[in-house]
């Protein structure tokens, strides 16, 4: 039976921890357990490894080690960057610019700040999910203190014109934060060249462990602390360090950036084959996101006349793991805010499927999906009262 198959195509949700990463982490549970703040050798040997991890993260994004602050993940990094810089710069202004397709860690943080008296501009995107640099420019006022735009979208994969926006922010003297949770490990990033002031990243998106991430904060950026307590992270983020996590993050980012070009080339090939196969073999289908400026691993579709959750369940019954932005999977009454923002009507946005590829996926996996997906879509369409009207 084909049900024994297990094909994971949900790498944008999370990845497994690379064995090499795990190996590097393990001694920090059992052998090197000292508190890095302690002065004795048990503490010092651990502290040294935190420094190594910090250097690895810094190197991967073109930052200085002292500009890297470890957090519990991407959401904390986003919250800290946005609230921290908003509160620290309140005297300069109260206006923040973001987009309608941000991750909820950014959107809900901005909505919270609106209740606190800040004003937020939510920029629209075009049908490919792209923010216009001109729109950013026009939204800037003398009260603007922060521009926060995601590097690449988690649902549709579209990559934003980060360098142009960074240049604009620098020219205007406004802080620029980017949620790069989906981008790190898939895109070459250089925070200096791209004029990025703050950047959020999360280890579990690039074969590192869950529960660890980092915020890059350019030297000189004013940011209030979020967690008060001990003097960890140069007094800006209290709490005894998640040492195994930090070590794992360091190893994972080093591995990912070391083989970035090779890995992107291979995964882009698989992704293109998948997209082409789906578009050619399944009628009434749309590819969501930008056709070229998109993450290598992201394939996002909408299949008209069917609903995403029933599609996911059917794929799951055949062993394939994907995700959807339908209302039923988002836990609300509306389908994904990203799909609505690119102009899809509700009924089409309900029929979305995201397949996000990763290191473990092979050409055979893609062939298998291309074999079963048309049958599943057809089965659901035959059951759909919307489809009978199309057939006439």
């Amino acid at each position: 039976m084909s049900t024994a198959k297990r094909i994971y195509m949900d790498h944008a949700a999370t990845t497994y921890t690379h064995r090499e990463v795990l190996q590097e982490m393990l001694p920090f549970f059992t052998d090197y357990y000292g508190n890095p703040s302690s002065i004795h050798q048990f503490g010092r040997e651990v502290k040294k490894n935190i420094d190594i991890a910090r250097e690895r993260v810094a190197k991967a994004i073109g930052a200085l080690p002292e500009e890297i602050y470890f957090t519990a993940g991407g959401s904390e990094a986003d919250n800290w960057a946005i609230k921290g810089s908003a509160y620290a710069n309140r005297k300069k202004g109260n206006h923040i610019i973001t987009s309608v397709i941000e991750h909820h860690a950014v959107l809900h943080t901005c909505e919270y700040l609106e209740k606190e008296g800040f004003e937020v501009t939510y920029l629209p995107v075009d049908r490919f999910g792209m923010v216009s640099v001109e729109d950013v420019r026009n939204a800037i006022t003398d009260k603007t203190i922060l521009i926060t735009l995601m590097y690449a979208n988690n649902e549709i994969g579209t990559i934003q014109p980060i360098e142009e926006i960074g240049r604009l922010a620098k020219e205007k003297g406004i802080y620029f934060h980017t949620d790069a949770v989906q981008a790190v490990g898939s895109v070459k990033i250089d925070v200096k060249q791209q004029n990025i002031d703050m950047l959020s990243l999360s280890a579990h998106k690039f074969y590192g462990p869950k529960g660890i991430g980092a915020l890059y904060v350019r030297k000189g950026v004013k940011l209030i602390s979020f967690l008060h307590g001990g003097a960890q992270e140069r007094g800006r983020r209290a709490g005894t360090e998640n040492v195994p996590g930090i070590v794992g993050l360091g190893k994972a980012i080093e591995l990912a950036s070391g083989k970035l070009d090779e890995s992107v080339a291979r995964i882009t090939g698989l992704r293109d084959k998948l997209v082409q196969g789906v578009m050619e073999n399944i009628p009434y289908t749309r590819l969501n996101g930008h056709p070229e400026k998109r993450l290598a691993n992201n394939a996002s579709f909408c299949f008209e006349y069917i609903e995403g959750e029933s599609l996911l369940l059917n794929l799951d019954l055949k062993g394939v793991a994907g995700s959807s932005g339908s209302a039923c999977t988002s836990g609300s009454l509306d389908p994904s805010h990203v799909l609505l923002a690119i102009g899809l009507p509700h009924e089409i946005a309900h029929g979305s499927l995201r397949l996000s590829l990763g290191e473990i996926n092979t050409e055979a996996d893609v062939d298998y999906v291309l074999q079963i997906l048309p049958e599943i879509v057809d089965k659901l369409r035959q059951m759909s009262p919307l489809y009978e009207k199309v057939k006439g």
Partner: protein
């Protein structure tokens, strides 16, 4: 998150399709919200002798449609009108809280189809 019973009905839905010259057809829900259920009835001597459904929606929407058609097949119109969403949920060994509205939709679809049947009868 779904019971085995839900998954069983989802994987092998009963009574899928349309009925030509149906005596009653009911359609509820809308595409905007992501759920549409359409039920077709064949009625003889006040008894539902055949029933079919078509559903656009999530796993729970398909499973509730399927079991609802099973629950009313062979029943009299009055008996079928007694079908409640609660009975549908129980027959499926429960539904996750955000999915209970699917069972309401199933009850409404059955009632809409019966309503349509009664309207057609009164015009005869």
């Amino acid at each position: 998150m779904y019971s085995e019973k839900v998954m069983e009905h989802f994987s092998n839905p009963r009574n899928v399709g349309e009925l030509e010259n149906a005596d009653g057809v009911g359609e509820v829900g809308n595409a905007h919200c992501g759920d549409i259920m359409k039920i077709y009835l064949k009625v003889e001597n006040d008894v539902i002798v055949d029933v079919r459904f078509k559903t656009f929606g999530c796993g729970a929407a398909i499973a509730t449609s399927s079991i609802a058609t099973e629950m009313i097949k062979g029943k009299t119109i009055d008996e079928a009108l007694q079908l409640t969403n609660k009975a549908v949920v129980e027959a499926l060994d429960g539904l996750p809280a955000p999915k209970v509205h699917c069972s309401v939709l199933a009850e409404e679809a059955v009632k809409a189809a019966i309503e349509d049947y009664k309207n057609k009868q009164s015009k005869k």
